[in-house]
Subunit: 500 residues, 2 copies
């Protein structure tokens, strides 16, 4: 036992309670998406609102700040993890108290309304109908950003970024994205040029039985180290990873005419799930035991989906199993064709359907636009035009309508400004981490080709997962890869894969 | 709008919050039984404990009693439902505050330990190993009963009964059970005697595909009026009905060699579920909107399972559908044989497997024993002997061991004393309610034989479900059937069915 103060102990107790509440909410979120009949949505929204309110009230109780001060003023008895935990506690409290409750509530209601309006607007390809609701969300998000900016002493955008990627600044992102933007368009041109000489991709013909798709996904999940005693695989409209580290609920969706969607969804979410399952067991109910941030989380899903699962080595292991599962044969199932299918590159209108070469360009566009929305430089009304211009200049294509343009993502209507960049930070981190693991694991290629993923998982557990939030993202990257996060490994990866 | 006081409004707000918390807990309970992987149990227990604690703290907040006083002192502006709601609020608060928090917590921990110990003890047929834990539970339950007895001014046993069947007393139960006990043993003898002349039951041969069993169950649920937009059917080890009225989660279990278990489980739980779905919509988040008590709840499940589903009329509708689903034919599927299968009467050792004739004898035995346990007249150590004697005198059979005897039920280890009688009160109420509905619904027999269950459901909705807790059980029975609850209809039902 370390010599902790009463204040620190009391804080651990309170955060354990908060963790139980947020864990309950996480389960109910999963249930809403994977299990709940439509008629349950009203009371479910109420349940989630009450749980969120209770957490907020707990963090805003009168003595919370005092407890933090006391614990910080006499932290000599705390070990490193406890110190890191205390810092994370302070951070959670800061976020909960920086904004006044009325603003939080107004924002929450505005985003609920705006999300509903967005579904309608997207369906009807009617951006104008979204403008009033989106304006309200942007204005309230600006007020939140201003309040947090004042409290944290960072820029308003960076204050929002803090929620998703603590410690990250737009200065860092600008440098990384500039680097990528200098590289990608030219690289993309070369890839598209080279593809002209490649044989055409033959699409494997279904139907692919859903039960078999699920079995196959579970087989790969098990091989990758997912612990089904602490999690489940189910179906939802949008694949996601929910639940809690001891009970990870991941979802995918199956298309009967295309097995790759369900499988890649499963593999992507398995990367997230392995991170959650690998978080330090003894800190499960404390802030320091949480995942470090969205970028590192996305790095783990992309490491499995993009770095590993689309590699030649993985395909050598997986393809015979996929073919056996579907009793498939014929030229569409040649490894060369499947590889071309997996690594198809093509500028498209929809971010979530994008390949790994063009994906960052979608993100960079959104990053630029959301900063301009937040600063007020871009009025909400002007978003469609700015979007179209951006798509034309970055990807060289023009959305035929807003539905395939600025209405495609739920992020802004739901008030999430500062989230988009983490996708591409994650892609870069995935490449850098995968490269480091491959260099350190003996016979790496051989292990993967033979479906022995334990060395990779062990490496990730040790270097990423088990650190929880005990270190900053920066220092986790430094410790794991020997360097800060750069775009180098990602660029090298793209070159090796697409222009070998 | 009625002219309600600020105090009453505030109470409604607080109970809506409590309802959201208990609704969240109900969903997590369902998930634990139907979805959760084993490894999730630790954090789940914590989530449920925290939610329960939060509710308890809310009800115990300093101003709650004052609010109730104020609302009651100026209730002139309240309509009947609001008055009834206020009375239910007072009752919930009474239960939450009658026992000091330390005792509640000690009881909760003791029952958790004892339930675990019970699983072990039952597995090993080792009652002695359960004695210390069960003694602790009984002692703490006695202290709770004493505290509530003092607060409510009723006997300790009646104080416990209040939790499950508000307003019911052991005097009432004694009278009803005495009546039954005077009737059942003689009746049982006659039924067994008569059965000797009947052809032997041929058991339909499986295997019965689980997916088909589920489809069939869903077909009957839909026919009976279950709304799948507000509920689901899943699998759990013990069938139960959970969730909330807007999202009822019921479960059953399937045996591949016996389709009746899964189907009867589904039909029984559908009765519970229809009650929940039929509770008054405008009072969903308030105490007055809840089901009246466990006896009325059980009456609704037994009305569907026992009164309706095992009737000749229902079988005329259902059997062709069951045969078609399983592509079944042969003498085992003759309606006469299926009826004999459904209506088999045989004294057995296990309550949950008992037929409707012998079931009340199991319950009466437990009722007598639990009263003696609570009063201290029966020391825990003497339970096995008392059980064996009781089985011998009521059912004429002797359990070969405690596993098939006093170790079979989880109720006492989980601290539920006062629950058992509600099963048989429910069976009696089911018969009385079914009789009344059959008398009032035109062409009742014809409707059932043709699978038209809407008139029955409408009648139940109007006379039982939609009343919520706005009236006492007694007055609901009086209004619905024109008489207080007696054993008469149940006895008449048994005579008609088994000795026609």
């Amino acid at each position: 036992m370390s010599n902790v103060t009463a204040a620190y102990s009391e804080l651990e107790k309170r955060f354990a309670r908060l963790s139980a509440i947020s864990g309950a909410a996480a389960m109910l979120h999963w249930d809403s998406a994977a299990m709940m009949p439509a008629g349950g949505s009203g009371p479910r929204a109420e349940q989630l609102a009450v749980l969120s309110l209770l957490s907020h009230e707990m963090l805003n109780s009168a003595d919370f700040g005092d407890l933090l001060d006391k614990a910080e003023n006499d932290a000599s008895g705390l070990n490193d993890w406890q110190c890191a935990n205390l810092a994370e506690m302070r951070n959670r409290w800061r976020h909960a108290t920086a904004v006044n409750p009325e603003l939080v509530e107004a924002h929450s209601h505005a985003t609920s309304r705006c999300e509903m309006q967005w579904r309608e607007a997207r369906l009807n390809n009617d951006f104008a109908s979204l403008v009033p609701a989106l304006k309200e969300v942007v204005q309230l998000t600006q007020r939140i950003a201003d309040a947090k900016s004042a409290a944290f002493d960072v820029s308003p955008y960076d204050a929002l970024l803090e929620e998703y990627e603590p410690g990250c600044t737009s200065a860092t992102i600008d440098a990384l994205f500039d680097d990528l933007e200098a590289f990608l368009p030219g690289f993309l041109g070369e890839v598209l040029e080279k593809r002209k000489d490649a044989p055409p991709v033959i699409t494997p013909e279904g139907p692919f039985d859903e039960a078999i798709q699920k079995q196959l996904g579970q087989e790969f999940m098990t091989a990758l180290g997912f612990d089904f005693n602490h999690g489940r695989l189910d179906i939802s409209h949008h694949p996601f990873t929910g639940g809690i580290p001891d009970d990870v609920r991941l979802t995918t969706r199956y298309e009967t005419d295309d097995f790759t969607q369900g499988l890649m969804g499963t593999l992507h979410e398995t990367g997230h799930a392995l991170y959650e399952q690998g978080l330090p067991k003894e800190w499960r109910s404390q802030p320091v035991g949480s995942a470090r941030g969205m970028a590192l989380h996305e790095s783990q899903s992309l490491l499995i989906e993009m770095q590993l699962s689309r590699s030649q080595d993985f395909l050598a292991y997986a393809l015979p199993r996929i073919k056996a599962a579907f009793s498939a044969s014929g030229p569409a199932w040649d490894i060369g064709n499947i590889e071309r299918l997996y690594l198809n590159v093509e500028p498209g209108l929809i971010r979530v359907d994008a390949d790994e070469v063009t994906y960052p360009l979608h993100v960079i566009l959104r990053y630029r636009l959301e900063k301009a929305l937040l600063s007020g430089d871009l009025p909400v009304e002007d978003l469609p035009a700015a979007w179209t211009n951006g798509m034309r200049s970055t990807l060289g294509i023009t959305p035929p309508n807003d539905r395939l343009g600025c209405l495609q993502d739920i992020h802004w209507p739901s008030g999430a400004i500062g989230y988009f960049p983490t996708y591409t930070l994650g892609a870069m981190a995935a490449a850098q981490i995968y490269q480091a693991s491959a260099a350190e694991i003996p016979d790496f290629t051989d292990q993967i080709r033979n479906g022995r993923f334990a060395p990779l998982l062990d490496w990730l557990r040790q270097n990423i997962h088990s650190r929880g939030s005990s270190q900053s993202m920066e220092s986790i990257m430094q410790l794991a890869t020997g360097a800060p996060l750069t775009a180098d490994a990602f660029k090298a990866h793209l070159r090796n894969r697409y222009l070998p």
